[in-house]
């Protein structure tokens, strides 16, 4: 056994750290906080110029052939620098799916600008009436001559206001079982008939509702077979769950420790000397380490050439649930001041604990709810009979 990432990762980490020191704009974190848009084109394009948008891809596909441990190091550094990576994360899922199942023409058209950091993709799965039951999508795509006409509505189309295309799950055949009548498209978000309405969230993040009314798309923008959309989704969802989403918890933990060590109470004692503070921060450190190890295991599985399945679900479930519980503990720990938001001069830990608390709730929902992950762990991991829902 060996728990260090290794020399190759260490040197790449150093490279990424130096790069971020030079390329992270001073207002990046504040701007993401104020706009709720967790994507920064300046950093994203700079990553593109560096060849780091999909650094793990083979060189012939425009990547650098970085191994899963180098990618772990890179994700660590992006997180520690506070880089908003929603755009990067969701675009990589779409691009990998195009690479896996797209036509040659689609690869030529979409992948180069993606790799340069010039375009990002939005995910168009969820609808007002279908979230976890994603295959129940009702947005219709109907044949019209050489192309298709799309009618419907999507919910939580995060970054649709910045993305060039939405990866849209549509129903092309309503007369067959729900998984059999779906088709995927890449729909330009500036096409006539597309409307994007902002949806603001408790966590401060901005997402969108998107509306599609008589939107015409050529058949060349269909990804996968007609009525074969579920196969494409299966590929995309595996990439999503194997993506080892970033947890903000350890960054806020470190900020809180620094604050507690440097802050004195009116009676002159340091915050960090309070046993109630020490106990909570110690317990939270344990959860962060377990989450980190469960993520590392995904990288390890990927490095052996396999796709993390149950391992990805375990990581997603654990970090989201632990972070939600820990954020609540941290707010309690700050007492009456725990409610003070970022931007107020006297906010403890600059308000990032209050922010984490508001944000954490969504982590148990997006990317497959905790219940979906538990279903996967129970049936595929433990071999329990498929659950009665």
């Amino acid at each position: 056994m060996e728990f260090r990432l290794g020399a190759k990762s260490d040197s790449f980490r150093e490279e990424v750290r130096t790069f971020l020191r030079d390329h992270v704009p001073a207002d990046m974190v504040e701007r993401a906080h104020d706009t709720g848009t967790n994507h920064d084109w300046r950093v994203h394009r700079a990553l593109g110029e560096q060849g780091w948008i999909a650094a793990s891809w083979p060189e012939e596909y425009g990547g650098q052939g970085r191994d899963p441990f180098e990618m772990t190091a890179m994700r660590d550094e992006l997180r520690l620098a506070g880089v908003p990576t929603d755009g990067l994360g969701q675009s990589v899922i779409v691009a990998r799916t195009i690479r896996a199942v797209g036509t040659e023409e689609q690869k030529q058209r979409f992948l180069p600008p993606f790799l340069k950091g010039e375009i990002i993709f939005a995910l168009g799965y969820t609808e007002p009436d279908s979230g976890s039951d994603v295959a129940a999508a009702k947005t219709r795509a109907v044949r019209d001559g050489d192309g298709w006409v799309i009618e419907g509505q999507k919910m939580f189309t995060t970054l649709a206001h910045e993305a060039a295309y939405v990866f849209l799950l549509t129903r092309t055949n309503p007369d067959v079982p729900k998984h059999r009548g779906l088709t995927m498209f890449l729909v330009p978000l500036d096409a006539p008939g597309v409307e994007i309405h902002p949806v603001h969230t408790m966590g401060g993040e901005r997402t969108n509702a998107t509306f599609y009314s008589g939107v015409r798309v050529p058949d060349a923008l269909r990804v996968g077979e007609v009525d074969g959309g579920w196969d494409v989704m299966t590929v995309a969802l595996t990439f999503e769950r194997g993506g080892f989403a970033l947890s903000e918890a350890d960054r806020v933990w470190q900020q809180t420790v620094d604050w507690a060590e440097g802050t004195r109470r009116p009676d002159g004692t340091r915050v960090i000397d309070d046993p109630l503070v020490r106990e909570r921060l110690a317990n939270m450190r344990i959860n962060d380490e377990v989450a980190r190890l469960l993520a590392l295991r995904c990288s390890y599985v990927a490095a052996t050439g396999a796709m993390p399945g149950v391992e990805g679900s375990m990581h997603k479930l654990f970090y989201a649930e632990a972070m939600t519980a820990d954020a609540a503990e941290l707010v309690d720990m700050l007492g009456v001041d725990g409610v003070v938001a970022h931007g107020e001069l006297d906010a403890p830990v600059d308000g990032w604990v209050e922010h984490l608390y508001r944000h954490a709730a969504v982590t148990t929902i997006y990317g497959g709810t905790s219940e979906v992950q538990r279903d996967i762990i129970a049936s595929r991991g433990l071999g329990l009979p498929r659950s009665r829902r």
Binding site: M1, R4, V257, Y300, R374, A378, G381, G383
Partner: protein
Amino acid sequence: MDLSLSDEQEQLVEAFRAFLAKESPPSLVRDAEARGGFDRDLWDAAGALGGPGMGVDPGAGGAGAGLLDLELVAERFGAALAPVPVVEAWVSARVLADAGAAGSTLLEQVLAERPLVATLALHAARDGVARLVPAGAVAPVVIGLDDDDLVAVDDPTPEPHAVHNLGGAPVADRSLRAGARAVLAQGEDARARHQRAVDEWRVLTAGVLVGLAGAALELGVEYAKQRHQFGVPIGSFQALAHRLADVATAVDGAQLLAREAAWAADEGEPDAVALARMAFLFAARTAQDTTAAALHVHGGYGFTLEYDVQLYLRRAKAWPLALGDPRRGALELADVLFGPAEGA
């Protein structure tokens, strides 16, 4: 990075798994508990496969295994609930070997063909008496802190009062001033050596608890597949399946953390002590949650003595308590992470 075991480690784990499946079935665990929580024959047989000297340097007569190897084997002992104090014996032997000449006579007996049972008092003695020492009811040799001294006492006829207890373990109060008494170290050095031994005990006990939790999880999962209610296997109910999924996730996390802590200690990583404390606390919490979930799945049957799952639940709670209140344990982790509290 590599999370796989070496071929040698795979063989080691398999050897102990097979040995314990044969020699430490639940019936033996039950018999041993009725007799005080220790099985002499199992102890002797385990000694033949790899006894207290497993983790001692070859130069001092041991087999030279690192903490990681010991942790892997500890998982197997935990899974079998084996009624032998291997963790205490391994750690004690390492303390004796490290102490050089002062510990050499006892070390010889501990490494003998029929090894003497040695154990570690986890808390400093009060007025010469160490409270509820793990394996204290069956170990002639006890190592512990008595005021400023780290001592090893060899008391062949201790006649300790074995305390009937939640974990069915042979715990007892022991005097550190009775029998033959060797001073292994003094002052700061004594405290540092004792602390190091306790942290090794934490890592290896984390391994025991991980194995215990994993075995209890299997019992729960198997029962959930077989037991039918309302015409279907109860494992198909989400309320039940999801609880098992949660603890399965925790068991995997606890195993990774225990192994990382053992690896870090072997490698002399700067955060090894913090990891040891983290691994112990998380494994203890996980073992408690997992055995509770597994017992609950069994419904009323799980509560009866006839079913094995209760053996796991009691030990999961009792064994880690040898180190005291886990919330105090979190504060001891905080001392490593943030330094001692000012004015404390």
